[in-house]
Amino acid sequence: MTDLLNVQNLRIAFPSRQGPVEVVRGVSFAMGKERLGIVGESGSGKSQTGRAILGLTPPPGKATADRLEFDGQDLRNATKSDWRNIRGERISMVMQDPKFSLNPVMTIGRQLTETYRTHRKATKAEAWERGLEMLNAVQIRDPERVMNAYPHELSGGMGQRAMIAMMLVTEPELLIADEPTSALDVTVQIEVLRILDALVTDRGMGLIFISHDLRLVSSFCDRVLVMYAGQVVEEVKATELTRAKHPYTQGLFNCLPKIEGGQRPLPTLERDAAWAI
């Protein structure tokens, strides 16, 4: 069986006056149709890893890899037209903040139908119908209003769901979700996860879930990669996260306050220079 996505020795470097700075240093993983979590602090390279898969490393950054394959297709030498057939069509990405990633001067409906009509042959009316269906699927109660609304007229949770709908309207095989729920309230968070979960189970989609919230990821994903300083320090099954071996993973897990109460002061993360080597 070929993997849906296979990444070997991914490296991303940004030039600086002191020479290139590597922010991702040799990340390797393979995944099928599953929920893979990538966890780490800000600056650990988790978002850059997600972007590099879609060839979206911001210039002047450079991404190199020994292997970067999606469904058997080598993405390293993909041309612009190759990318056009992949981005949004077969791999989609949900960004963290709906306020910054939706077009502020286009209605949700126009953005949704634009996505759909770029990738599928459809009339405007068909695309509109499809958009309404998708908004229904992400549990937006009054899809007609949302289709005609501008992003600023929606709450954060609504905007995020509209964006998920936009990314899924083409039924991609792989969804990369970069902190899709960090800007949302706990109750809305669970709802959005429920939608993503249903999509993975019903459509057999692959999902890469990038987050800094270890507890959330462990309760949602099948497998978790823990990143520190641009490297994967540990790969654990989500159910076995409490038994993680690496001190960084343990530290991340223990420094969260608990409702039931616990240590006071909270244990903080003691960083070991050896982890970054």
Binding site: V186, D213, L216, C255, P257, R264, L269
Partner: protein
């Protein structure tokens, strides 16, 4: 006697003919040295309560008393000596073109302190930043360091009440632990009174002895830390929040059962 006493607080924002009733009759009282939490989702009016206390939102009904004295409009300078606020986003709440030194000396100048030099040094020391940070600009600091500067700015006037509006929600989990420990330590040392707003029940359970759950601008229920820890919630909404905070799998199971 309660240090901070709020009764039937109402906040209405008016824009033309539109009225948004953000806070609808909230009553709470916090005694000296206590830490009080307000929990709710976005739009529940929890931050607006804090903003109304320090004069950033219009009070349209009810009273706010500090030390038994009703607040004046505008607030007097001695109000700000007693009450200070720390905002959610450390990236937005520090002036980008002021050095840490300027940020910290400005309140001292306004309130006529003479020993500014030593106070600025001391304030940086208290929040765990050495004097090496004194002449840096906000863009030269990490998120956690910025939030420490914001806390130092609030503490420099030696207030009795600190209003904390989601002080850690923009920070990583590991940095959150450090900032919460810092706030906890300072409260112990100085006997401060905290009002902490958060959407994270576990942060509130860790930091506060009593808390109030808010929804749609109204208080849903008031709880103690013990009742929160043993998950004895009287209202459905609080139970929903508690379930959601368990994480995805647990919330799914709870819903199924």
């Amino acid at each position: 006697m309660a240090l901070l006493d709020i009764s039937d607080l109402e906040v209405t924002f008016t824009k033309g003919a539109e009225h948004v009733h953000a806070v609808r009759g909230v009553t709470l009282s916090v005694t000296e040295g206590e830490s009080y939490g307000i929990v709710g989702e976005s739009g529940s009016g929890k931050s607006t309560v804090l903003r109304a206390i320090c004069g950033l939102a219009p009070i349209s009904g009810g009273t706010v008393r500090i030390d038994g004295k009703e607040l004046t409009q505008p607030r007097r300078p001695d109000f700000y000596r007693n009450v200070q606020m720390v905002f959610q986003d450390p990236y937005a709440s520090l002036h980008p073109r002021h050095t840490v030194d300027k940020v910290l000396s400005e309140p001292l100048a306004i309130h006529g302190f003479t020993d500014r030099e030593t106070r600025v040094e001391q304030a940086l020391e208290d929040v765990g930043l050495g004097h090496g940070f004194r002449f840096r600009y906000p863009h030269q600091l990490s998120g956690g360091q910025r939030q420490r500067v914001a806390i130092a700015r609030a503490l420099i006037l030696e207030p009795r009440i600190l209003l904390l509006d989601e002080p850690t929600s923009a920070l990583d989990a590991s940095i959150q632990a450090e900032v919460l420990n810092l706030l906890d330590r300072i409260r112990g040392e100085r006997g401060l009174t905290y009002v902490l707003v958060s959407h994270d029940l576990s942060v509130v359970a860790h930091m506060c002895e009593r808390l109030m759950v808010m929804q749609h601008g109204q208080a849903v229920e008031e709880m103690t830390r013990e009742s929160l820890q043993s998950r004895r919630a009287a209202q459905d909404y609080t139970r929903k929040l508690l379930t959601a905070s368990l994480g995805y799998r647990a919330a799914q199971e709870e819903q199924a059962s």
